[in-house]
Symmetry: C2
Subunit: 293 residues, 2 copies
């Protein structure tokens, strides 16, 4: 298939490479040409603009950071909308607000362009291994058309509902994940206050009903005090800004997610946004006088 | 081995039965004789008091609800302490405060009696299947002596540290578990406010980084609105009372666990203590005008 890819960062680069390896005809554009260079060397066609990517592609995938990035790429000057033929499809895999996803879907629909929001879970490790979990929102028939593309990124593709529903599932995922990281941090902090060996507590907890992927990975980082980035906390902070704002508009009380958001604010204030979200343990230690180990 | 068992409730009854099936010589006593009757029919020796159980046993296991129950059984009139020979061991598998566990260990030690705190995770299903996760605190040599007993209840036995350390791990487990249930409830509540299908969100989340045993089991109950008790919420409420009190004494800030405790308070105020902890979803709905599905 003729596929465009825009957003060749830590997630997008391996994903675009999977498309090339699967034999798709891939076109790329990047604001900074050096981001596109490795893909072009590997066989992708470098374009001068997003509009040119759209002209050359049946389906264009975007994987950028912010909602305003998606808007600029899709509807800004030289954007996708200027190049899309009727019947093309824009698959946005960024994490943005459900409301923006619905708005972009409607704007494309006016010109006969399809839309799928398909944010992912799993991070750069799963992106590299083509094992991303994909949460898709949009029209079912449109999703079927792009399924061969999405399958290059991971095999757990869940159609959650109409446009925006993929972003709702992603918001739920991020809320649950960071709240669980915070709960792990509190468990470790309580064990530490009791002067009990954290590695033993971690092992005990991994056998019990509270076991989770988060406890396994982030709990272990806390035990080893390894706060180098696996997932940069600033990205979680960004996601919390989106869905906590939505919760205000929707009148949905989210007491512990809101509290976890406050802890992320404190983390950012310490300048730890480039560190791993396991740094939430250090935030707790700040307010009780430091690491007790 | 000659083993006593006191506390023949929903957890204790299958556990004592496993001891009999493994060929141990089991003595039992219960405040209400009808609780002991099924075990006596199955081959256990019924005793007239906890003291008599202690006289007949090398090791006595207790599995009761509250710290004051353990104290009454161990140190009250006709209690274990009156019957224990020097070198006997009291294995308490109840969930009580780490401080009480340390105190009971010290009181037994004065008379040459050993102590292990060995609270469990997994509930009645794991108790019946002999697959409990066991978090042990106490002297390592004493733990080795009772390992053949504990192995009848489950094979994941972690020695966390000295007396009380098993209870610290259990507190961490309960904190993490209920906080995660609350986070699941908030995720479901947000999805519902967005009018997205909860079953699809649950499926999507189970494939992502936020997946957990709690999300699988309690998230599913929330989707199906099945609030009949798997785990009675009043037991989680009891556990939160213990460790949040400890956190005050230790000066350990636990922001989301404290908030989850508030939600459990609201649940209890609704009279839902006998229902499953998945009822935390209903608590959220109360404050935003009911189920939005």
């Amino acid at each position: 298939m003729r596929v465009g890819f825009i957003g060749l960062g830590v997630m997008g680069r391996p994903m675009a490479t999977h498309l090339l390896n699967a034999g798709h005809e891939v076109s790329v554009w990047a604001r900074r040409p050096e981001s596109a260079a490795p893909l072009v060397s590997a066989g992708a066609t470098g374009c001068a603009s997003a509009a040119e990517v759209a002209r050359r592609s049946e389906v264009v995938v975007t994987m950028v950071t912010y909602g305003h990035d998606v808007e600029a790429v899709a509807f800004g000057p030289d954007g996708l909308a200027e190049g899309f033929a009727e019947g093309s499809i824009h698959v946005d895999m960024s994490t943005i607000s459900p409301g923006l996803a619905r708005e972009f879907a409607a704007r494309h629909a006016e010109r006969g362009v399809g839309w799928i929001d398909a944010p992912v879970s799993g991070g750069d490790v799963a992106a590299a291994a083509a094992q991303l979990a994909i949460m898709a929102g949009g029209d079912a028939a449109t999703l079927e058309r792009v399924r061969p593309i999405l399958s290059c990124f991971g095999h757990r593709i869940v159609h959650v509902g109409e446009a925006g529903a993929g972003q709702v599932a992603k918001a739920c995922n991020q809320m649950l994940m960071v709240s669980t990281i915070q709960a792990c941090a509190e468990a470790m902090h309580l064990a530490s206050a009791h002067r009990v060996d954290l590695a033993a507590v971690h092992t005990a907890l991994m056998g019990g009903s509270a076991a989770s992927k988060v406890m396994e990975v982030f709990g272990d980082r806390m035990v080893r005090r390894d706060f180098a980035a696996g997932v940069q906390a600033r990205l979680h902070h960004k996601d919390f800004g989106i869905f906590l704002g939505d919760a205000v508009k929707l009148g949905a009380p989210l007491p512990i997610a809101a509290q976890a958001g406050q802890q992320l604010n404190a983390l950012m204030a310490q300048g730890w946004g480039g560190d791993d979200t396991a740094s939430l343990l250090k935030v707790l230690e700040l307010s009780s006088g430091g690491d007790r180990d």
